[in-house]
């Protein structure tokens, strides 16, 4: 599985890695992010379900876990390689041409804003096959539709192996909907690291 993942990254190098997670995100990200090299040749955007009205704890968490620069996203920010961009509470995060970040205050989707489906959908249409979608632990089915959409556009799509997830509903919903590569978060990190190093 790991060699397959590395080969796929070489065959179609992503310019953007879109990560979605909910309950159990901290543990999954804690296994994935520390593996990443600082010079990863792709931008990373992260949507984790978060409550409205309170500042997000996500930038500090991600900063503590990886050597890449971490930015809480603003609207129209250019998404640069080697940087992690975290979603903000009360806004959907979309990826528009560039790639750039685009925020939306449209109503929550399945009670979530930011919504993982909204992110993945926009990445599918904007980046097409030049993206990697990663769906991690969570207790609902957000992300399943969006990840299937990314897959339909030819993107690489990885799902956390349910037996490694704190909450299995989200990875299971995604795997039930479309064929994705199922990996442990640490393996995802290893694959990205192996690919990133060969590019650096």
């Amino acid at each position: 599985m790991l060699t397959e993942a590395i080969a796929a990254l070489h065959r179609q190098p992503p310019v953007l890695v879109a990560v979605g997670a909910s309950a159990g995100a901290a543990q999954a990200l804690g296994q994935l992010l520390p593996k990443l090299p600082p010079a990863l040749p792709a931008a990373i955007v992260v949507v984790v379900h978060m409550p409205p009205g309170v500042p997000s704890a996500l930038p500090a968490l991600v900063r503590s876990l990886c050597p890449l620069s971490v930015v809480e996203v603003d609207d129209k920010m250019a998404l640069e390689p080697g940087t992690v961009y975290t979603a903000v509470p009360d806004y959907h995060l979309l990826v528009d041409d560039g790639p750039t970040a685009a925020l939306s205050a449209d109503p929550p989707v399945a009670r979530s804003r930011p919504s993982i489906d909204v992110l993945f959908e926009s990445v599918a249409e904007t980046c097409r096959e030049r993206a990697l979608g990663i769906l991690l632990s969570g207790a609902n089915d957000d992300g399943a539709a969006g990840l299937a959409r990314m897959r339909a556009f030819g993107a690489l799509t990885w799902v956390q192996r349910p037996d490694t997830a704190e909450m299995t509903a989200m990875p299971e919903a995604a795997l039930a909907r479309a064929p994705h590569l199922a990996l442990a978060p640490a393996e995802m990190g290893d694959a990205l690291a192996a690919w990133g190093r060969s590019h650096g």
Binding site: E4, A7, A8, R11, Q12, V73, D74, D75, K76, V88, D90, Y91, L94, V95, D96, D97, T100, A102, L103, S104, A105, D106, P107, V118, E121, S122, A124, E125, T126, R128, E129, R130, R149, A152, F153, G154, P179, H180, L181
Partner: protein
């Protein structure tokens, strides 16, 4: 060795369908500007796609071309579409921390002008406008202030001018008001009847609601404060730049500009004409160009 997961990249059916969708959206926007003079061609594409797809579902149309067919023949379809493309439902005192910053850092400065003009650009259904009038009232400034509240959507402007909101929303408005440092009870400002809260005519009396497009219209007044929150996120960079240019031209020197909590002037060509008063709350002040 080759599994479906290993398919090499190439044109996909989904990709072709998305190209067609974008083409149809271009044609629809062209049709709208020629028939109705509403300009959406510089709206941010990713959000616009979502909203148009949402409209297709709501209308039950199978394609954007079908939507265009009806938009061109039925003004009511266009009116409904206009609302779907423009209305952002906000809450009174959304981001209470921002209103606290206004109270503490901006109102004392505004108080130094003998009379005040304020522009709320893209006021939608008016929640922001009434929040501001209450803030001004509590600072003793309302009686010498005039607010221009503008939007491109006549239906949203009518809702805004009525100042009537469902009581069900008032619990959240009240919570926000208190967190925003409100000095009274929000209930002092409205009358509840028939499941609605009607805001005071005294607040409304200081406001002119009018039609204005940030995409096609020009500056119409000189103001000390521009509030334009969560409007620019729906624009592409070019249109954002135009809008920020209008704000800059409209503001008196040392006047203030407030944007949404994740919008910024930093990317615009006028960035050097502003300084951040509160970077966290996205409150800026017009300053002389530093060359």
């Amino acid at each position: 060795m080759t599994t479906p997961i290993d398919d090499p990249p190439g044109p996909t059916e989904a990709g072709e369908a998305a190209d067609d969708l974008d083409l149809e959206i271009d044609l629809l926007l062209e049709a709208i500007v020629r028939k109705y003079s509403y300009e959406f061609r510089d709206y941010a594409r990713a959000s616009l796609r979502r909203r148009i797809r949402g409209a297709l579902d709501a209308f039950g149309f199978a394609s954007v071309s079908e939507l265009q067919h009806h938009v061109l023949r039925d003004r009511q379809v266009f009116t409904t579409l206009l609302s779907r493309l423009t209305v952002t439902v906000s809450a009174m005192f959304r981001d209470p921390g921002y209103y606290l910053a206004l109270r503490r850092e901006v109102l004392p400065m505004l108080a130094t002008w003998p009379s005040l003009k304020i522009w709320v650009a893209g006021c939608s259904t008016g929640e922001e406008v009434y929040s501001l009038t209450i803030l001004l009232d509590e600072a003793g400034l309302l009686e010498r202030t005039h607010i221009y509240a503008t939007d491109i959507n006549p239906e949203a402007l009518r809702t805004a001018a009525a100042g009537v909101y469902p009581l069900a929303r008032l619990a959240q408005f009240t919570r926000n008001y208190q967190q925003a440092g409100g000095t009274r009870s929000l209930a002092d400002y409205y009358t509840a009847a028939y499941g609605n809260a009607a805001f005071d005519r005294r607040l409304r009396a200081r406001v002119t609601f009018s039609d204005h497009s940030l995409a096609t219209d020009q500056v119409f007044a000189e103001v000390q404060f521009v509030s334009c929150r969560n409007v620019l996120i729906y624009f592409n960079s070019r249109l954002q730049d135009r809008a920020i240019g209008l704000f800059h031209d409209s503001l008196v020197m040392h006047g203030f500009l407030a944007l949404g909590s994740h919008e910024r002037v930093e990317g615009s060509t006028r960035a050097r004409g502003f300084r951040a008063v509160s970077r966290k709350d996205r409150i800026y002040q017009k300053v002389p160009y530093a060359d």
